[in-house]
């Protein structure tokens, strides 16, 4: 599952612990790294994204903030242009609307507007995803919204190994990086258990390059392109499909900006069939972009029109049967893949 060779000991870690380990190692290495957010201190992050950091680095470097996202994310921008490397946590990505101006009009544009004279080396970490009845304002993924707006890298790990390597890369990057973690991949004790949320992770620091997709399962009949928790669902679907003799490739994009278009085209060229699985709203988002990328690069290799299985264009309902009806899952992914292969 991992491509990089680090030569170091590995341990079983949850995604959240792997992510925190990367932050801690970078904070050790580089005194300009610090972290701000709501409940990142004693609480350790609502989704354990900062657990243990306060104890280790103290309140000067692990700073609880008021509920002032424009204020503290904007402050991160200001600190970044003065040579710090802040990490700011937006507790749920759903809250982006209270601070989007700082994110996309400032963080993402200052480097360009300054003609390259200023860098904004910062990371925004944010939780995404639903499936546990948190309603319309706490369950969204929204990565498509950010990926549409130029100037920030968009990183979306699906497992502990990538979570650590991509976090290290994000902190070391001289550009603003949005780091989305799905609550369902963190390995939290209070979420529906997910066996893929714990895995072997090297102890030594390492980097997973931002902008490189990863084949999480290779296959020859159909390419399933997705990110984050839906990688797990796709892998489950692939297992079911294998029993039917359908050999599915699962391509984990890992980042949307930069988008590894080559990997998409390469895989589709080999399989001739594309299914995009997307937990974000269907229209005007990731699914359309990936399909268009395949059309632009592999039109002549397509054996059937690409398909998509995305979150429908409706706000996220609270009630469990409603929400589950909307979310792609292993069964629905396998069903569409079968249709595609039999088309």
């Amino acid at each position: 599952m991992t491509t990089a060779e680090t030569g170091s000991e590995t341990r079983l870690l949850t995604t959240s612990k792997a992510m925190v380990e990367a932050i801690a190692q970078e904070m050790e290495r580089d005194p300009s790294v610090f972290l701000m957010g709501e409940d990142v201190g004693v609480y350790g992050g609502i989704f354990s994204s900062t657990e243990g950091l306060l104890e280790r680095f103290g309140p000067e470097r692990i700073m609880d903030t008021p509920i002032s996202e424009t204020g503290f994310i904007g402050a991160a921008v200001g600190a970044a242009i003065e040579g710090m490397r802040p990490i700011a946590e937006l507790m749920f990505v759903d809250f982006f609307g209270v601070c989007m101006d700082q994110i996309y009009n400032h963080m993402a544009k200052i480097h360009y507007e300054s003609g390259g004279n200023l860098n904004v080396p910062m990371v925004i970490t944010t939780a995404m995803g639903g499936g546990y009845s948190d309603g319309a304002q706490h369950s969204q993924t929204l990565y498509g919204t950010f990926a549409h707006l130029p100037g920030m890298k968009i990183v979306i790990p699906s497992n502990p190994y990538d979570a650590k390597g991509l976090m290290t890369a994000a902190i070391q990057d001289d550009n603003p990086v949005l780091y989305f973690f799905h609550k369902g991949i963190m390995g939290l004790g209070w979420m529906t258990p997910n066996p893929r949320a714990t895995d072997h992770v090297p102890e030594a620091p390492y980097v997973v390059e931002i902008g490189k997709a990863d084949v999480k399962r290779s296959g020859s009949d159909v390419t399933i392109v997705t990110v984050s928790l839906m990688v797990h669902r796709a892998l489950d679907a692939a297992e079911a499909l294998a029993k039917d003799g359908i050999d599915a490739e699962v391509l984990d994009l890992r980042s949307l900006v930069p988008l590894d278009r080559e990997a998409i085209v390469d895989s589709v060229t080999r399989t001739g069939r594309l299914l995009v699985v997307d937990e974000d709203y269907q229209s005007f988002g990731m699914s359309g972009e990936v399909i268009t990328t395949a059309i632009e690069g592999a039109f002549d290799y397509l054996d059937a029109p690409p398909r998509r299985l995305a979150y429908p264009d409706v706000p996220i309902p609270y009630s469990n049967p409603l929400e589950q009806f909307c979310l792609p899952n292993a069964e629905s992914i396998a069903a569409v893949a079968r249709e595609l292969v039999n088309a």
Binding site: Y132, Q137, P321, Q324
Partner: protein, 327 residues
């Protein structure tokens, strides 16, 4: 001096809310033991209970009239109940049932009730502009109604607080801003988030009255709100009220509360405002202990009935998720 009927009513509303929250705390754990899974059980998702904060809701809402609007937060039950929301429909919504206020689409943080003009939002402080707009509508419609925005002390550092107060003050709108200062925003204490001690002092930044109720006392809340509401109904504009209140439970159910000590929590329990008020009413002979017990018992029966209604109601049809985006 508050008349005796009103005193009993204030107690009754606080007790209803408390009994409801305690029942929710229990129901919430159903299906989540031994291995806690937030998605499991009859009531999934986040659950923010307001035990301890009942005086704020009861004291303010007892002053409201039909047609007055209320917006609340992620912690809305006590307010919704005090404002007259149907407990059955509300409970059914929390259970995600077809018979719920939003047919299961809203949930615990999104209780909308056109009948009582009640709404809430899970985004901190962002329910406040809604109330400003409701007040604006009332003024345009010449209705004489008032809108009330409840929010936490944590919300008072969000931009929406500032914009809402300025707009309401500027346009002299009939709206009351009620800050429930329970001293905590999840794990962050007020003094680690707010540059000054009392948010009521921020009223001066908008040229409006700011009142402080300093000990979670329903009488004082009631009287303070009465003044503010009178002012609003008279067309003299908004007021800001801050109530120092207590969050007896965790931020949400399942919160281990590692950020405060067991002693701190017990201290809060010891000064429980409902018990204090009940005692005071018994002492001043507004009611006797039997009558008090009767209030508790009735509340328990009402809550049980509501939960039973919710339990026995059907879930909405899964495919109904796809409809209702547009009117």
């Amino acid at each position: 001096m508050i008349d005796e009927d009103t005193q009993r009513e204030l107690l009754r509303q606080m007790i209803r809310a408390r009994v409801f929250e305690e029942a929710m705390a229990e129901v919430y754990m159903e299906g989540k033991t031994p291995a806690f899974d937030i998605a499991a059980g009859p009531v999934p998702g986040e659950m923010h209970l307001a035990a301890g904060q009942e005086p704020v809701a009861a004291g303010v809402c007892a002053n409201l009239r039909p047609g007055d609007a209320v917006t609340a937060t992620h912690r809305p039950h006590h307010i919704a109940l005090a404002h007259g929301m149907d407990m059955k429909k509300m409970t059914a919504e929390i259970f995600g049932k077809e018979t719920g206020l939003g047919h299961g689409k809203g949930g615990h943080m999104h209780l909308f009730d056109p009948e009582t003009h009640f709404g809430c939002s899970g985004i901190v402080a962002e329910g406040m502009p809604t109330a400003v707009g409701q007040a604006l509508a009332f003024k345009k419609q010449g209705k004489g109604n008032v809108a009330v925005a409840f929010f936490g002390e944590g919300a008072a550092n969000q931009g929406a607080f500032h914009e809402s107060l300025n707009l309401a003050a500027l346009w002299k709108l009939p709206v009351i801003f009620v800050c429930e200062d329970n001293a905590w925003a999840i794990s962050v204490p007020k003094d680690a988030a707010t540059a000054i001690g009392n948010n009521s002092d921020r009223a001066a930044a908008y040229g409006i009255p700011g009142a402080l109720v300093s000990d979670n006392d329903v009488t004082e809340v009631y009287e303070t709100a009465a003044v503010a509401l009178e002012r609003a109904r008279a067309g003299e504009g908004p007021s800001l009220i801050e109530v120092k209140t207590d969050r007896l439970l965790g931020h949400f159910q399942g919160d281990a509360q590692l950020y405060r000590t067991q002693e701190q929590i017990e201290e809060l329990e010891q000064r429980d405002a409902i018990r204090r008020y009940e005692q005071a009413l018994v002492e001043s002979e507004v009611l006797d202990s039997a009558e008090a017990l009767e209030i508790w018992n009735r509340a328990r029966a009402e809550v049980e009935e509501a939960i039973e209604f919710a339990r026995s109601s059907p879930y909405p049809a899964p495919e109904s998720a796809l409809t209702g985006v547009f009117a």
